[in-house]
């Protein structure tokens, strides 16, 4: 195993400055980013259409940037100033595409050996066998991609890229379609591989759990730009921008104005702007350095809101708001309820809670929100 001190040596740092305009019907899309990625996981996080895949395509060489420079340590992959463009096949960039792109007519073994054509046959076989063993799929060697499960296909695609010893690894939502158990096993495999091969890994995902599980560093993208970066904790726990918050799982985001500040209580009262003036919605929120009249956003996770069918009393929670149930939608194993309480709030319930409370649209309910479940965001 390489010495960890050595692993962050500059000759393995990916540094990229990319500008690429993609023509679109309504408005051209512009990718404009500059970042470096040290060996280890860097998670690219952002809504679809934010340019994550285009960014990976530029690094792999499948898309040519309009301007910029991409290098891995001293090796230059692309430099618009010198009109230099290293062909895709010579970049040694491992790229696991979103839909894997396994060769359907080749067996698992043949797929894995595809990138080793420069090696003698025996060496090729040995290397492929070794990595298939590492990923626990050596018994699938003679099957074709259509004959193995989704999780196994994912492993084959990873093995096929990793076996070539890439200088940088690009993973485009590699685990999106998998169940939780398979996901975490593959993540373990990836982490193990990463310990032995310290190269920059750019990992695109929509999933908060994957960000938390993998991210040593997160780049949050929106509209072709990087809008936030740092550790997952920094980026997701203390959201500064609304987009980050949306990504971080705030189903409810409201415009609000600071109404009054109560330093002695450590809280302040915010009035939600979307609510009708005749029926104001006030929330007690944590105190931040602010003045009355300040405009900000409040984010509340749907799972952090309690729902009661009679007015609750004697609670520590500071916000108890009356409302009326609008609709109940089942999503997988949770119920997403929409409640009109002056503003529309989304509340997540279990199936059991719905049945125990005999909830139905039209029912009067109370929403209970703890002060610290109200996350304040700069506008």
């Amino acid at each position: 195993m390489p010495d960890p001190a050595e692993s962050n040596s500059p000759n393995q740092i990916l540094s990229a400055r990319i500008r690429k305009v993609l023509p679109a019907a309504k408005q051209d899309f512009t990718l404009d980013v500059e970042f470096t990625a040290v060996p280890g996981f860097t998670v690219l996080f952002g809504p679809s259409g934010s340019g994550k895949t285009t960014l990976l395509d530029c690094i792999a060489g499948l898309t040519v940037p309009d301007a910029g420079r991409i290098s891995i340590g001293p090796r230059v992959l692309f430099d618009s100033d010198r009109a230099f463009e290293l062909p895709v096949a010579r970049r040694s960039v491992g790229y696991v595409l979103q839909d894997l792109a396994l060769f359907p007519h080749l067996t698992v073994e043949e797929n894995t050996e595809y990138g080793l054509a420069h090696l003698p046959r025996s060496e090729r076989k040995a290397r492929a066998k070794e990595i298939l063993q590492d990923f626990g799929i050596e018994h699938l060697g003679t099957r074709r991609p259509a004959q193995v499960s989704g999780g196994e296909r994912q492993r084959v695609a990873l093995a096929r890229s990793l076996v070539t010893d890439p200088c940088v690894l690009l993973l485009d939502e590699p685990l999106a379609a998998l169940d939780v158990a398979t996901k975490s096993k593959i993540l373990d495999d990836l982490r193990r591989w990463n310990r032995d091969h310290r190269v920059p890994i750019l990992y695109v995902t929509h999933s908060r759990e994957e960000v938390m599980a993998l991210g040593e560093r997160v780049l949050v993208m929106e509209n072709g730009s990087i809008i936030a970066q740092g550790t997952p904790h920094e980026v997701l726990r203390a959201p500064l921008q609304e987009t980050v918050a949306q990504l971080a799982g705030f189903e409810n985001i409201f415009e609000a104005t600071v109404e009054s500040i109560h330093e002695e209580r450590g809280t302040m009262i915010c009035r939600l702007s979307q609510a009708d003036a005749t029926r104001p919605v006030l929330l007690e929120t944590p105190l931040i350095r602010a003045e009355a009249g300040l405009q900000l956003s409040v984010g509340i996770r749907a799972g952090d809101i309690l729902l009661a069918i009679s007015k609750p009393e004697g609670l520590s929670a500071r916000n108890v708001i009356a409302g009326r149930l609008q609709s109940l939608d089942r999503r997988d194993m949770i119920i997403s309820a929409r409640v009109d309480c002056g503003v529309e709030m989304q509340v997540h319930l279990t199936l059991a809670a719905r049945d125990a409370l005999q909830l139905a649209p039209g029912r009067d309910v109370w929403l209970v929100i703890k002060t610290h479940s109200c996350h304040l965001m700069q506008k």
């Binding site: 096949a89 970049r91 792109a101 396994l102």
Partner: protein, 231 residues
Amino acid sequence: MSVDWQAFRLTVELAAIVSVVLFMAGLPLAYWIAFSRWRWKFIVEALVALPIVLPPTVLGFYLLVALGSQSPVGRWWRSWTGHTLAFTFAGLVIGSIVYSLPFAVQPFAASFSSIDRKLLSASATLGASPLRGFFRVVLPLSMPGLVTGVALAFAHTMGEFGVVLMIGGNIPGVTRTVSISIYDQVEAANYASANAMAALLLAFCFVVLTVVYGLNSRTPSRKLWMLGPIE
């Protein structure tokens, strides 16, 4: 009633040579049509499709002019071989290649185009040259289209008439194909012979096409690979 077996042998020979040439020449042309981003590509596509709509006599006439002893090609051929291209088997091969070109190239190009580009991206990121990607990925996945193209070119050449008559004439053992021979028999009012040969040609072409379409329908490209490892 007599069947002109000489004409049959000649026709099969012609069709076989034309199919082989079209397979080899058609692959790069079809690849270019499928993958080129040249803005005037459609002009080439139209040229390739021309023999489908053009009357064989028009095509045959221009080929005759192009291959005749007055043309540069004809003169070059003459200085090389001592005789003209027109009214020879070689001339017939050239004419048939042009005439059957779209029947090979279009299925080739269609099957190349239908290949998921992501597979080619994956091939490239794994360090494979475009040529290696072509032979290891594009070609095997295009097999049904390739078989269709070659079979259509073969069958189409088997049955051509107008072009052959224009540039080949009717020389027994050299340029007299089955369709010309049938025409001769009808002209001579030998309907029984004409019928025998026509039926034979019909049956032959039908069998070829049935086999090809049967193979393709049972193993469309995607399902073909689900059959499992061939041990």
